[in-house]
Amino acid sequence: MPAISFQSISKAYASPKGPPGSKFLAVDQVSLDIEQGEFFGLLGPNGAGKTTMISMLAGLTRPSTGSVSVLGSDVQRDYAQARRKLGVVPQELVFDPFFNIREALRIQSGYFGVRNNEAWIDELLESLGLADKAQANMRQLSGGMKRRFLVAQALVHKPPVIVLDEPTAGVDVELRQTLWQFIAKLNKQGHTVLLTTHYLEEAEALCGRIAMLKSGRIVALDHTSELLKAASSNVLRFKVEGTLPEALRSQARVTGRIVQFPAHDALEIERYLAAVREAGLHAEDVEIRKADLEDVFLDVMQKHSGKAAPPVADTAGASA
């Protein structure tokens, strides 16, 4: 039984731009199974449909078509069971200003009918570095502390499936490390983790399998290692003063002075450098590195930059 199963789900919203009554599809016929114990990454640009998928999983949004289940429990028909199995860390830094951390965690436990939960609450507070803030009102906490609290709150009823919707957005490096160590530990203990993030190096380091979404459809789905293998094996990176000719620019990823070209072999590298020289430019700090997930992501997004195309996916439990 998969930990999370999306079956042909779509979500249509009224289109704010089109004529009255017109709709746009935030999620379009997505099917995806996430197996128990996986650390799964859901990636995509803003507006790709990641949060809508998570909202449908959490029961905050009803699918227009299709169904979603958590460990076999349908999130609409059997919502109580499904929600007991699910812990969701929301994207926004929300809190209830009336309560301190410990009170809020006790209350959240109570909603799930979990009694005598003090030992687990203490462990969560300790693991997430919140023990000395247990009596602090939520208003007194920094953004990072509030983020840690949201993680603790999502885990307070010990759900087997954990969903983290951009949990490290705006969070400092130290907290990110603490958070990932803790989540990785939970994953090793058997919890299934579904992660959405814009930090692709985190996804590459943590996720065993990744799906990339664009315009509400899955455009890539595979094991992280396979996605990396399928990409250009190397990247030529250098700095340059001046503007590249359009023919070169269209093949490159340019960030300020930094230019990066996907390159498969030495011949291709030589060709790029020669073209730069012929353009009257001087390449500095030249280096060749292995392609990372960001390169794969950009490559996939570029390939599907037109109208959403059929998926580029393996067949292991997915179609779209």
């Binding site: 919203y13 909202s55 959490a58 029961g59 905050l60 949004t61 009803r62 919502y79 109580a80 069971q81 929600r83 007991r84 699910l86 969701v88 929301p90 926004e92 929300v94 809190f95 209830d96 200003p97 009336f98 309560f99 009170e103 209350i107 959240q108 109570g110 909603y111 799930f112 009918g113 009694r115 709150q153």
Partner: protein, 251 residues
Amino acid sequence: MNGWQTLLYKEILRFWKVAFQTIAGPVLTAMLYLLIFGHALEDHVKVYDQVSYTAFLVPGLAMMSLLQNAFANSSSSLIMSKVMGNLVFILLTPLSYWHWFVAYVGAAVVRGLVVGAGVFVIAAFFTHISFAQPVFIFLFAVLGAAMMGTLGLIAGLWAEKFDQLAAFQNFVIMPMTFLSGVFYSIHSLPPFWQIVSHCNPFFYMIDGLRYGFFGVSDVSPWLSLSVVGSATLLTFGIALYLLRTGYKIRS
């Protein structure tokens, strides 16, 4: 505690933590009404033969405070949670729409009754009040608080901004409470306004409560009980329907 009991407890704790604002404030306001109106009109207005005007005011003021605070509790809790985004903490739980209903309305009833009782206890220092029909006092107080807590729940679900809720409160709830006979008997009104008052369910709540205290009322207490009971059931039905369909809280 199980899920709905926890939500009820949380909703009670929420207003209790700011009791100075949610309990003491409304009791003080009602006392000011009692002192000013009672002092100014005691010798000029006589509604029932054996009842002083100050004593006549007490049930009306207690009920008005009870109704307004029951409404304020559920509506302000919901709108705050919606605006601040923390309603998601409850939306992610296994609580059913019945659980939501019982907890939000239950907490509103508790706050309404605490404020109403506070008004009564303080007023007892100023005037003598009898208890002719205690069962009616209890019935009208609980039904009134439940109906207004439910109306607050409906308004809290409907409103997306604080000013929408304030408009509901200022243009619907406040006129209906003030035009329900808190400060006067509707027999003293011109015929047209008497008819209007008879269409206001708040009038029956206050008149019914007065019957509980004094044993006399403008209309039959059974008619009042029927009207208040029917109006309460109607609001229950609407609120439960909105919660079941996730009106403005689940897309």
